[in-house]
Symmetry: D2
Subunit: 262 residues, 4 copies
């Protein structure tokens, strides 16, 4: 028998069956549930309502692609030198979904969770948000979920996400908190700091009950699909030869020898 | 201007827009397309029909989970020691989707593509399949897509996948080829070698027009979701303490010192 | 010509030569320099003295192995299912060198750098260290570089590392700071918090002039070698079959079906 | 007690000790052995002779750096977007050490092992080598270990590696086999196919007794150090802003909308 600590409630199997969250995979899932239904089922331990499914689909499709991002380039370059391992190319691309770009939704989700807990315990929203903004200001760090390097006047995905959330009945306190956070941050800094897609999604995932520790995971699910598409394009229209040429052009003899210590 | 070789047709953006395969992400995708629609769009450069969507959903949900697999355990253990990087935990888990387990669909897809090309050029199916089976036999390698360590009497997902493919009008020559491949392999080896989910999916992805080089990618898309769910469970019901204890129990002083060469 | 921003001073090449930090690889490095010399050369842009080499070797060998760690198990399991990609198995193992275990030297190095800057600007060491300890206490986080899950009465590597540093003339202010940090932490918490190998190494790498952002990298260099050895052992004495059996033992039908939302 | 299958002979520990291959880490390794000694110890279960150490050092330093390679660029780009995870940046870089570039030493080592077994069983060397060359020719694949994209007239590391091997007494049958393999391949193809560093190193690692399955691992050990140096340079002289700008320059509205299937 397995040690008691080695069990999962997510899925199990025997000779003739596979179950996921208690549903029979072949008779109750395959053919009737969508990918998005099953993602919700695995995370929330229940099937989504029609509105939850629509909102989760909107979240997932909004993050899937943004052109030739660093992550996409990384996956394509890695595939070109390690074609035996598509999993390696995709893994390399995902490793770029960190705190600076996609992964910022994790830190934003953590902040929104803290704000929610603080206001739930009676502190005024304004006070809590000002504390957050001031804390980032003192540490000279950028607030996650706000601003975008390309969409400097506003991330086009944000308004649409909030619109769909409104239609689906998920425009709750986390959405209000992230919007107020942006207002306070803009007021304090005097700069435009519109909510970007990762900030909006952090709020929406909290509305859907997903803990902040997993927020980055939804970017990973979505980007994996985008990265596979990029590897597919690399097979027919490779960017790697051009990139390698560019990287090599700095080559040639060095200017001077180093100091020797020994 | 970018060097001409550095372009993608998958997605692009400007200050106020994001396009994916020519569709406006916010007005034509978000709120109307599902995750699965968009995966199809990215890979095939067009939207799926209702039947294509249903078949692709069946493929994706069938691979998402199989319990506490080595990959799931790897992601959970990695998260427990590197919680700052969910992307690292998921990447580590995906790196196990190689030739032995999930990734076998790639090699199976390659074989089915070669069989299809050979029969298209006029060679009899039986002859081509016998050559394939004999080639693996000589090299003492297992045919990919056949047999399963747990589902030894037949992978329950296979029959269901073929049933859905039939309903959707995708029970074509690749499905026939993989079924005949299994028959020849069983006849030659005298052992039960039922088609497993990766063999069935290789055939179905070819029916959907996906080149074999990308087959493993659909396992990656699907398993990423499963791995995120496992990390979620690790937060509340960790398996890592038990695993670490087990790994440590072999510790203690060594039996003997090594021979010294120098 | 390459865009000016795409250049490295680390190494370059032409048709007949390779240079590293200005040295001709074949005539000035191969055959005369050791691996450790070249690591120092790449990071510091000069060759090490005899003492610097000895200290760096001590650092590198002290981190290479610690038995069947989670990282080692991850690399072995990953190799068993993805044998086409040794790089994938090693990468998966390295992804575990995060903030909780090996990577703690990064955060410890950052703290020691801040302490050094603060005392250099005139603040008393005691005050600065008490502030650090109190900050971690308030946030209920463990101080990096102190304590060890197995070597609870003291990490055997620490005393030896400090001894070698003393012999090599590198027992400077960073060593003093980490020792004082441990004393303050023990005094405040009333618990034994001996400096572990990662805390000692963070101090020694600062003594060698390595910025804290790269400290984790020395664990990666060292553990890569250990992981390759583990994959080698997996080929002859695999642990994976036993591990997979243990993971599978929790399988079987689930207790109950989930609530359905839709 | 641990299940019998969960043990390693590589290293172990108890409250006060760590052992590696039976040596006490603190009293017998730290301060006396170099990194290279310990790598040899872990892989071969014994300490190297002076000649073995010199040869292994030459192997390791020859692979560490080759300028701004795709792998180095991948690690730098990944670090710039995931600075919380140096292990992720290094892992991403290592994932490029696959079959096309560094990892080719694995396939070359496998071929040399087969050649050695075939000649040991009495088949003439010439016949065996011609069979190998012809097999690759038929499958239209490049022979691993021969030719180089930049060093088209000969890899400068190869002659030096063979020279050091000769001095160290390791110029044995595997070196002879790879040299003859290159001659046969050049004769058959009519093209220059000089042995590159990975081909030479495959032969030398076999001379040192390292099985071909681990050859790629020596590239990983070596490149990890190079990648850490590149991340260090990225901190002070980043290439990522230039690369991102280049990748973005292809952006803008798409030419046309896709065909819709549904």
């Amino acid at each position: 028998m397995a040690p008691p600590g080695l069990r999962t409630q997510i899925a199990s199997n025997d000779l003739h069956h596979i179950w996921v969250r208690g549903l029979n995979l072949t008779t109750e899932v395959m053919g009737s549930l969508s990918f998005t239904d099953m993602v919700f089922l695995l995370i929330a331990s229940r099937l989504p309502t029609r509105e939850e499914r629509r909102l989760l689909d909107a979240v997932l499709v909004s993050l899937m692609e943004h052109g030739l991002t660093p992550s996409a380039a990384v996956a394509r370059v890695t595939y070109s030198v390690s074609p035996e391992s598509l999993q390696g190319a995709v893994a390399a691309g995902l490793l770029g979904a960190g705190s600076v770009v996609l992964g910022s939704m994790e830190e934003c989700g953590r902040i929104l969770t803290q704000v929610d807990e603080a206001t739930a315990s009676g502190r005024p929203q304004a006070e809590v948000l000002e504390e957050v903004v001031s804390d980032y200001r003192v540490r000279r760090r950028r607030l996650p979920g706000l601003g975008h390097a390309i969409h400097t006047e506003g991330d086009p995905r944000t308004a649409r996400l909030f619109e769909i959330a409104e239609e689906c009945g998920f425009s709750g306190r986390h959405v209000a908190n992230v919007q107020e956070l942006a207002r306070v941050a803009e007021g304090t800094s005097g700069r435009k700091l519109p909510i970007n897609a990762t900030g909006a999604i952090a709020a929406l995932l909290l509305e859907l009950g997903v803990p902040w520790q997993l927020h980055r995971g939804f970017a990973l699910i979505s980007r994996t699909a985008g990265l596979v598409a990029h590897v597919g394009e690399e097979l027919s229209a490779p960017i790697t030869p051009t990139l390698r040429e560019l990287l090599r052009e700095g080559d040639g003899p060095p200017a001077a020898a180093p100091t020797k210590g020994a």
